[in-house]
């Protein structure tokens, strides 16, 4: 039986894993290669690196971090943040990534999805969508897509953009609810379900993970194929293995033992 994936996400800045606490302070959470290996050993089904600086100068540092992390990783490894061209994607693949995640650049030039897919296969292209509802109680299917790290609205609906991304050859959608992100109050299940039901490709839910119950909800009500979390894993608040054991008790199919 196909299991639900638990994905550990590492926000990387200037070659270190960082985490904002209450959106202000950036706390150094450690070495990306070391943390990636630790999460994989604890049972993470996949590892994602998100380069949150994504400036030209930090490119080389990121490629280095990807290379080092990939050396010891034998689970799928996705890298995103600031990838604008198929050539930039190629450098990340060469460093050992299995998939790349694109966001702003895909909205600016949707052909990029197909260009990377043609060279590396659709399975290697994850389209990341950051979405926010007009107000937090607004209808999920009208949630709007934001770019530039959530700073700029695009006027496009998340559901409709996900459909286009699929049609252009995306292999997966990584959907982050900006309303839920950082709250640890649970995923936006309604938004996740609206997107998941609109496409045939797998949808990864992100934003809002605080406890095991939230994962169960987003797999059941949100119809997510995978769920991603960052901060809750870093400081040992929930390790992946105990999270999975709880999910199994809830009847969610997970990879255990891992």
């Amino acid at each position: 039986m196909l299991t639900k994936r638990i994905i550990a996400c590492l926000d990387v800045r200037a070659g270190r894993v960082v985490k904002g606490v209450q959106f202000v302070d950036i706390v150094d959470a450690g070495d990306p290669a070391e943390l990636a290996a630790r999460h994989a050993a604890a049972g993470a089904d996949e590892i994602v690196f998100l380069d949150i600086t994504a400036t030209h100068e930090s490119r080389g540092t990121l490629v280095d971090a990807v290379k080092r992390a990939a050396q010891q990783l034998f689970v799928p490894f996705t890298v995103g943040g600031g990838i604008r061209t198929a050539d930039e994607a190629a450098a990340i693949f060469d460093a050992g990534a299995d998939k790349i995640s694109i966001n702003s650049a895909a909205l600016a030039r949707p052909e990029l999805i197909g260009e990377i897919g043609a060279k590396f296969g659709a399975q290697a292209v994850v389209v990341a969508i950051d979405a926010r509802r007009s107000d937090s109680s607004g209808p999920a299917d009208t949630a709007e897509v934001f770019v530039a790290g959530g700073r700029r609205p695009t006027g496009r609906r998340a559901v409709e953009w996900a459909r286009e991304a699929e049609a252009r050859g995306a292999g997966e959608v990584l959907l982050t609810s900006m309303d839920a992100d950082g709250t640890r109050a649970g995923f936006d299940c309604e938004l996740t379900a609206a997107v998941s039901e609109a496409v045939q490709i797998p949808v990864i839910a992100s934003g809002g993970a605080g406890n095991a119950q939230h994962f169960t909800q987003v797999f059941r009500e949100g119809k997510a194929d995978a769920a991603l979390a960052a901060s809750i894993f870093h400081f040992g608040i929930a390790d992946v293995r105990s999270l999975k054991e709880e999910l199994r008790r809830d009847g969610i199919p997970v990879r255990l033992p891992c």
Binding site: L2, V75, F120, G121, P202
Partner: protein, 199 residues
């Protein structure tokens, strides 16, 4: 010499890396002469079945055929497994090796495609590739086309329908999943392949 055939489909990095992790010293090559000198052949691959046309165009297919006939152990991964069959509806104009007569096809509608993630294996006990690996172990898949159940099927996975997760016949083996991305289970599969000796 362990030849990992480079046919410009996806990247070889992770396959090479995982082979080194289990103690091998693989050579990646797109040269038929190198394939002809190999003691073991691995054909990786993610992406489109049409990419296997490169094998025919470069004379690699003939070289692989010759080595297989001589008893050299062969392992196909993902599209590399599908290539062992007659072909795939993904690219009917590009025939496979036809070691097995069936044709690969897209998953039947009614579920999400591609099939992405960790799924379990029902393993036949006589398998050599899965020696030491427990039944129902999880491995990582990512694919939209699959091989049907065949005589050579040694492991089956369910995704709305049962399909071939692995084949073994004589010195020919193949896996639909990615052993290089399947944690300790995947490394064990590679290790079993490397240690396997033709009798």
């Amino acid at each position: 010499m362990i030849a990992v055939v480079d046919y410009k489909a996806g990247n070889l990095t992770s396959v090479m890396k995982s082979l080194r992790a289990v103690g091998a010293d693989p050579t990646s090559t797109d040269d038929p002469a190198t394939v002809l000198r190999s003691d073991k052949i691995i054909l990786p691959g993610v992406g489109h079945f049409a990419a296997t046309k490169f094998l025919e165009d470069r004379g690699l297919k003939a070289a692989i055929q010759e080595r297989i006939a001589a008893g050299t152990p062969f392992l196909g991964i993902c599209v590399g497994l599908q290539w062992l069959f007659a072909g795939s509806t993904e690219a009917l104009e590009t025939p496979g090796l036809a070691a097995f007569p069936e044709t690969c096809a897209r998953f039947t509608p009614g579920k999400k495609v591609p099939h992405v993630g960790w799924n379990s294996l029902s393993i036949l006990p006589e398998s050599r590739l899965f020696s030491g690996i427990g039944n129902n172990s999880f491995v990582y898949f990512t694919h939209s086309y699959r091989a049907p159940i065949a005589n050579a099927t040694i492991a089956v996975t369910e995704y709305g329908e049962p399909f071939t997760a692995a084949v073994e016949r004589g010195n020919i083996m193949g896996v639909q999943f990615h052993p290089e991305k399947s944690g300790a289970t995947g490394l064990q599969v590679l290790s079993n392949f490397l240690e396997w000796k033709p009798c």
